[in-house]
């Protein structure tokens, strides 16, 4: 809902109007975007991103059994909880000094591939595309819709829609064909996920040391038959997305400026290579580079590093505009990493969360989200990396790094080739995502549909490997372990919407410190103490407005497209608040020894 408030007289430049959207809909959690828009020059002048949600995972995880971490942190999110479980398992594997058996790792990769397909599809086709559908465009840019009605869709032979407006009608919520087909696809992909990880979205069969999924041949063939139904949908989706997004560039010259920001991308890598990964910190650089989505950091279009150790040591959690007290005077948990490198007090391993609730003040503190930054040793800058909604950074880093080379997905240095087999109606297809010139709303959205194809293609690769092992009689999917008294661990993974890290410190066999850093704290972060705005703020600030409506009936569709392109997910953005009316019940739990505490 837009709240409009005309500013008093002396506002410069003219027609400066404060507009805020709080909460933003069609995303998860509480995100507020507060802007000042100059309608005379059709430009956003200032933007603040704020969240009124405090979770406290890093507070209440302390003292718990580390083996519970995957099950608890999964509840951070109602859509990508399994990414947290997986990441927690990675961190615990490191702390316990174990590795998941190959077949177990493949099952996990297959589950995560299904999650990427499910989540990206539902977000793209059922939520993002509402901003690009016929009904919305008619309301905000009628002239663009008129043009769409007469513009032939260049890839009509693949998706079957004659004009761009026909595609847009397909995306109309609740009625459009594509909108409904996407819902059916999400059902299929969730079934695929449940086959591998037991339950969506909080997995029941994913543990440190392996999985509880029974690796029967039927498990994999059930997955494969569903995957075969998904491939054609993906081919069509890519074609439709390309048509619509190319049309927007053409119909609205300058649209590349919407949501555009400096290219500052981070990807922490996904899909472990089971033959290489041993989860030891000392060899993290090697197994990180062997991942099937390469981890890395890109600054201004150039790859800075692929080394997970560098990535880890550069993470800094800054304050400045967040409702927390500083923890620099608290005790550090990890002064040096296992390789002997010093670890900063602002690193998640050393963070102590000290919440300090207060009034929102845009000149001081205004969000529960902290400001994660990456310290660039070369320049001394604290970079406000974004994830480009996840898919964008993953494809960008993988393409530039040129390390992934599988029969289905291959990085080329300037792009990523994705090979999809013949489906029910469409032939074998090779798609190619190429590194775009900009980091903007359209390219983030476009990358998302390409990553659905990427995940589907990788799933074929994993399933072939898994079936080969099963045919040879391999049935080992878990490994036993003891919980050490003292240990540290870190897990790097990609949540659907971007970078995910879990930092774990174990003392006396219990969690001494645990900090999950999901993508949204990176993307939705407020200004840090250096004054650097977070990615949403940065992308929206100084952005041109293309909507044809004036201040009275302004929908803010361009701003929403910019913010939603990052795939905001605020429950993971902030780390439960029990205010007045707090009720806690203690109930009997039928478990031997449950009352021992």
């Amino acid at each position: 809902m837009a709240i409009t408030e005309q500013q008093s007289a002396a506002a410069r430049p003219e027609q400066l109007v404060e507009m805020s959207w709080d909460p933003i809909t069609r995303i998860i959690g509480n995100l507020g975007i507060y802007t000042k828009i100059d309608f005379a020059n059709r430009r956003v002048v200032e933007c603040h991103s704020t969240s009124s949600l405090f979770r406290g995972y890093s507070v209440f995880m302390k003292g718990k059994d580390p083996r519970d971490a995957g099950f608890i942190t999964s509840r951070i999110c109602g859509i990508c909880g399994d990414n947290h479980t997986t990441c927690s398992v990675y961190a615990q594997n490191m702390a316990y000094g174990i590795k998941t058996p190959v077949l177990g790792e493949l099952i996990l990769n297959l589950g995560e591939a299904a999650e990427y397909m499910f989540d990206h599809t539902i977000f793209q086709d059922n939520l993002v595309f509402v901003d690009f559908c016929e009904a919305m465009v008619k309301d905000t840019n009628p002239s663009v819709l008129r043009r769409a009605e007469s513009t032939e869709a260049p890839r009509g032979h693949i998706h079957g829609y004659r004009t761009i407006a026909d595609i847009m009608r397909g995306y109309n919520p609740f009625e459009g064909e594509v909108y409904k087909a996407a819902l059916r696809m999400s059902r299929l992909t969730r079934e695929m996920f449940c086959l591998m990880e037991g339950r969506h979205v909080h997995p029941s069969t994913v543990y440190p040391g392996g999985v509880g999924t029974q690796p029967t041949p039927t498990l994999f063939t059930d997955y494969l038959t569903r995957l075969m139904q998904v491939v054609d949908f993906v081919k069509k989706a890519v074609a439709m997305n390309d048509d619509v997004f190319d049309f927007f560039y053409e119909a609205l010259p300058g649209y590349e400026e919407v949501g555009r920001r400096r290219i500052l991308l981070g990807c922490w890598g996904a899909f472990q290579n089971p033959d290489v990964v041993d989860y030891r910190y000392e060899t993290m650089n090697e197994w990180g580079k062997a991942m099937y989505v390469t981890p890395g950091i890109v600054v201004d279009g150039e790859l800075v590093t692929n080394d997970l150790v560098d990535i880890n040591l550069g993470i800094r959690i800054l304050l400045g505009s967040s409702y927390y007290e500083d923890w620099v005077n608290e005790e550090p948990f990890v002064t040096h990493d296992p390789l002997g490198n010093p670890v900063d007090i602002r690193h998640p391993w050393n963070q102590t969360t000290l919440p300090a609730p207060q009034k929102r003040d845009f000149n001081d503190k205004y969000s529960w989200v902290m400001s994660p930054r990456w310290y660039d040793r070369r320049t001394g800058e604290h970079l406000a990396l974004d994830t480009g909604g996840g898919a964008f950074a993953r494809l960008y880093v993988t393409a530039l790094s040129n390390l992934v080379d599988t029969p289905y997905v291959r990085a080329t240095g300037s792009g990523v080739q994705i090979h999809l087999p013949k489906g029910e109606s469409l032939p074998e297809t090779t798609l190619e995502w190429r590194i775009p010139k900009w980091s903007n709303a359209i390219e983030r959205n476009r990358a998302r549909v390409y990553f659905v194809a990427y995940a589907a293609a990788m799933a074929f690769h994993f399933i072939e490997q898994a079936l080969e092992r099963v045919r040879a009689g391999d049935q080992k999917v878990f490994q036993d372990f003891d919980v050490p008294d003292e240990a540290i661990g870190v897990g790097f993974h990609e949540a659907v919407r971007g970078v995910l890290s879990h930092h774990l410190v174990i003392r006396d066999g219990k969690i001494a410190n645990y900090h999950p850093y999901p993508p949204t704290p990176w993307n939705a972060s407020p200004r840090d103490h250096f004054g650097t705005p977070g990615p949403y703020e940065d992308a929206v600030q100084d952005m041109p407005i293309f909507e044809e409506n004036g201040p009275e009936d302004f929908r803010g569709v361009d701003i929403m497209r910019a913010v939603r392109s990052f795939d905001p997910c605020l429950p993971c953005g902030v780390h439960m608040y029990l205010g007045k009316g707090r009720e806690l019940r203690r109930i009997h739990s039928p478990m031997f020894g449950a009352d021992h505490g």
Binding site: F60, K62, G63, K64, D65, R67, D68, P101, L103, Y207, P208, G209, Q214, T216, P217, T218, L219, E325, T353, L354, P355, A356, P357, V470, R471, A472, G473, D474, Q475, K476, F478, Q479, D480, F481, D482, V483, K510, R582, L584, R586, S589, M591, F592, G593, A594, H596, G597
Partner: protein, 69 residues
Amino acid sequence: MAQIRVGRPDTAPDAPAHTPGVREGNAKGAYRHQAGHRKDDTVDARKSTGIRPKDRNPILPSMPNLPPG
């Protein structure tokens, strides 16, 4: 600690976790003690059934033993 007021905890943070004396499924050696799991990562019919498992093994040694399902 932070300056916010919080109530007294009702329970210990690790209350639902492990109770000393109860066998842990993850403990080292657990895998080896489960019937039917072999050292080379393959399994035999004892993994699936305790009733005349030998009769349920593959008829040729070169055939993999796969659980029903």
